[in-house]
């Protein structure tokens, strides 16, 4: 059982550089080739709506931020999905206006900082960072979740004192919004590694189509390796895809800078993921009255990933 191959696979992703494997893979046609199936690509702008689609059975596999994945997992009492691989690490920073004198969290008292989405990875990191020094959003300062595109615009107009955003918005805020990076989130983590994007599969799809998922992971790994080895070509293809799918490509310098701060990886980074989830729980973003650590048991399922890694003689990853 589970050895069947699906003849159509629906994959969700964002037109974002942290979903590079999907974007470059689309450009190379690698997934179609490796899976031998028709691929239905679905594009999203936000994790919650992508997870809604997955919960509704409309997606089989999705590139998504870790927090929406964790949230969907807990809400479905561990039934709906599994994280089957990582996609990207790093690439999130707190950007402030170049003229800002703020250095420490305390300096943001009475100020306004934006995050891209309530309860997403950056929002949680930002609030945790503030909480560490006893600052409470809403009382001591304002944390405003607002769309990335609006953040840039507001930043340009000098209406924000800071923004905790993912790439390429970090670079765009620096370049187009005359900002500077105050804090690179990598500095807060051991080894500078924390998940920015992961790959999830719908549980019943995973059970029924293990062969297909294995082939998908093979392609995903291949793309991960290829991007690492051919960064120039990869960035070109990435930009082409952005232009095609989202209507606009990034300036080469922006792309270069942004890419330099992102690590493309297939490791789901289960350890940091659990830490981030615990923070989200503390902040009240996850279902109340459940033990987060216990509830998250089994969310990362790297059995197939490790099988493929082993076949390619690459180091294995941890599932918890």
């Amino acid at each position: 059982q589970g050895a069947n191959a699906a003849d159509k696979v629906r994959i969700g992703h964002f037109p974002n550089m942290t979903h590079a494997q999907a974007l470059v893979g689309r450009s190379l046609g690698i997934f179609e080739q490796r899976l031998g199936a028709r691929i239905d690509w679905k594009m999203f702008n936000a994790g919650p709506s992508e997870m809604e689609a997955l919960l509704a059975g409309q997606l089989d596999i999705a590139y998504v931020g870790p927090n929406p994945a964790v949230n969907a997992y807990l809400r479905s009492k561990g039934k709906a999905l599994r994280i089957i691989a990582g996609a990207a690490s790093g690439g999130a920073s707190l950007v402030v206006p170049a003229t800002s004198s703020a250095k420490r969290p305390q300096d943001f008292k009475g100020k306004r900082i934006a995050s891209p989405e309530l309860g997403n990875t950056q929002d949680v990191a930002l609030r945790r960072w503030l909480k560490n020094v006893g600052l409470t959003p809403g009382r001591d300062l304002q944390v405003i979740p607002v769309k990335n595109a609006d953040i840039l615009m507001l930043f340009q107009q000098g209406k924000l004192d800071g923004a905790w955003v993912p790439e390429p918005w970090v670079t765009r805020l620096v370049m187009e919004g005359r900002g500077k990076i105050l804090l690179d989130e990598r500095t807060l983590w051991k080894n500078g590694k924390f998940p920015t994007a992961v790959v999830v599969a719908r549980s019943d799809f995973l059970e029924k189509n293990r062969a297909t998922v294995e082939r998908f992971l093979d392609a995903h790994l291949e793309m991960t390796e290829w991007i690492r080895k051919n960064p120039v070509d990869a960035k070109k293809r990435l930009n082409e895809q952005l232009a095609r799918l989202a209507g606009k490509s990034l300036p080469v310098r922006t792309l270069d800078d942004a890419f330099s701060r992102v690590l493309i990886t297939s490791d789901p980074l289960a350890g940091p993921l659990a830490v981030s989830a615990a923070w989200a729980g503390e902040l009240g973003y996850l279902p109340k009255k459940i033990d987060i650590a216990k509830g998250l048991t089994g969310i990362v399922d790297v059995a197939l990933l490790n099988k493929v890694l082993a076949r390619r003689s690459l180091p294995l990853v941890k599932g918890r």
Binding site: A46, P48, E52, G119, V146
Partner: protein, 264 residues
Amino acid sequence: MPAEPEIAGKAAGKWRGRVARVLFLLALGILWESLSRAGVWNELIFPAPGAVIRSLADGIGDGSLPRAVGASMVRLGIGYSISLLIGIPAGMLLGRLRLLDDTVGSLAVGLQALPSICWLPLAVLWFGLSESAMQFVIIMGSLMAITLTVRDGVKTIPTLYLRAAPILGATGWRFYRYVLFPASFPSVMTGAKLGWTFAWRSLMAAELLYVTTGIGSTLMMGRELHDMPLVIAAMIAIIVIGLITDRLVFRLGEDFVHRRWGVG
């Protein structure tokens, strides 16, 4: 077969209606709960009423729901009041001054065709992340409806009143103050009601701008956190508030207009 005098029938009809309504809603609730228990659908796709009620109770208990509703109503009240303050005089002028109607009036007709959600990008751009931005969206959503309804009302004021005015000596500003304004009161009520409907819908759009305190934001927060009971609790709160304002505020106004003007 001699029938009973109909007065009993009428009062009874009203009560029968209420009872039917309550029984119907109860039956729906029970059906929903039992289907949920039978596992006909996934909890995630459609939560059970128990979970929704718990979510409602939590929200009311910790004060977050009343706070959200309060914030929304303040926001709505300010935006809507501004719409009324601009829209009613504007509509009266448009109804009386042909040239203004041909120009500004046709602009208003055009803008009325634009759903308020379309103002979101410009709202952030012009007003940043502020209450003003949300009020702007609410105003753009309701102002045209009020203006145009009042304008149409003014245009259809019975010629009789307009002819009675000058022979009673109501000319110049007195005409506006003592004839035109009261004569267009029924259409002002209609416009105010339509404007409220649009303002109410625009509020939900406005609260998409950024996450803030408000009933629309509560709903969107529920969505982002995959908290379906919260989503449905917010929907119920929205329905209840919508019905209450409709029943209390506008029913009273309509009754008054109906009694005094004999129309509407």
